[in-house]
Subunit: 184 residues, 2 copies
């Protein structure tokens, strides 16, 4: 029987050592009996023209997601209080396909707590919290916008790590693999 | 024949006048012969407990997306250089269901340009651009992470508006409805 495959979504594809992190994730998957599918891995040569290259990368990610049995998404905040939008898109994509979804974040705390740290103007307005522009900051005690946690097959693993290891630490990822194994 | 329905995804659900914007979007949909489905509209009463309320809102959005024939996503940057992650999740969800996807942004320019404005440390590194943490800033000449534009049925409508109207201006939304009509 072939092992269950996991799509490894996350912003680590943007790191200078993206290939190394991907290899480490795939190796951890193997430890748990899974086949890791990493979108940042080398594949067929890509077109040189930027728009064509983007389209080819998109097609490659979609093919990998359709092939995968499940997803483990790295929802660590990326350039703001929330997760990487590409990863969020992929999580929604896999949820719609009915595949069990798992996620982790290398940050602790709620979306509200992080948004307050980034925007000193966030304040109470009646029962709500609003930012400096008067826009509500969602507060359900969740780590991000409710769409991200609410479709998961198991609670997201959220765990603060030192800033320098924010996109490389794999302990929460490993805990997610255990959840995925127990879910089978 | 019942009109085609459009799921109206976007961060305007967080505005103080969310209901008003939703009504304006639904009215514009009707002008184009579409039925607008707005996730911020009043629905069944929600549980009071935050986690249960979040789960109920998620279920409501999913039911609305499954019912909708297509999506028009507001991908205007939200609390950072990229779109709202909830909207990104929904766009991926609808793409996976094979429904035609449309999107707009009330900001012009590329992801790289916006990231440079928010992070003065973004700099060239060989052929790439990297941020202050050495993380690549994707540059395909696209308005956001490639996952968002590459699955669309028509190019996203991106158009700068004055800052005060960033989440309320509906001209790009209207242009998207014209694209959706022409796509039928």
């Amino acid at each position: 029987m072939s092992p269950l495959s996991i799509y490894l979504a996350g912003p680590e594809v943007f790191l200078p050592n993206a290939a190394e992190i991907g290899a480490a994730k795939v190796a951890l998957c193997a430890e748990f009996g899974f086949l890791g599918l990493y979108p940042g891995e080398a594949g067929e040569p890509l077109p040189a023209e930027p728009a064509a290259m983007a389209a080819a990368l998109y097609a490659r990610c979609l093919a990998m997601m359709r092939r995968a049995d499940t997803i483990v998404a790295n929802l660590t905040p990326f350039r703001g209080p929330s997760a990487d939008v590409g990863t969020a898109y992929e999580l929604g994509y896999m949820a719609a396909l009915g595949k069990p979804c798992f996620a982790y974040s290398n940050a602790a705390g709620t979306l509200l707590e992080r948004t307050r740290r980034l925007d000193s103007k966030v304040a109470r307005n009646g029962n709500d919290w609003v930012d400096g522009q008067g826009i509500t900051v969602e507060e359900f005690g969740l780590f991000d916008n409710l769409m991200l946690p609410c479709g998961l097959a198991a609670p997201a693993v959220c765990r603060a790590v030192p800033a320098a290891a924010r996109y490389t630490d794999l302990q929460a990822f490993r805990a997610c693999l255990a959840l995925a194994r127990d879910h089978r």
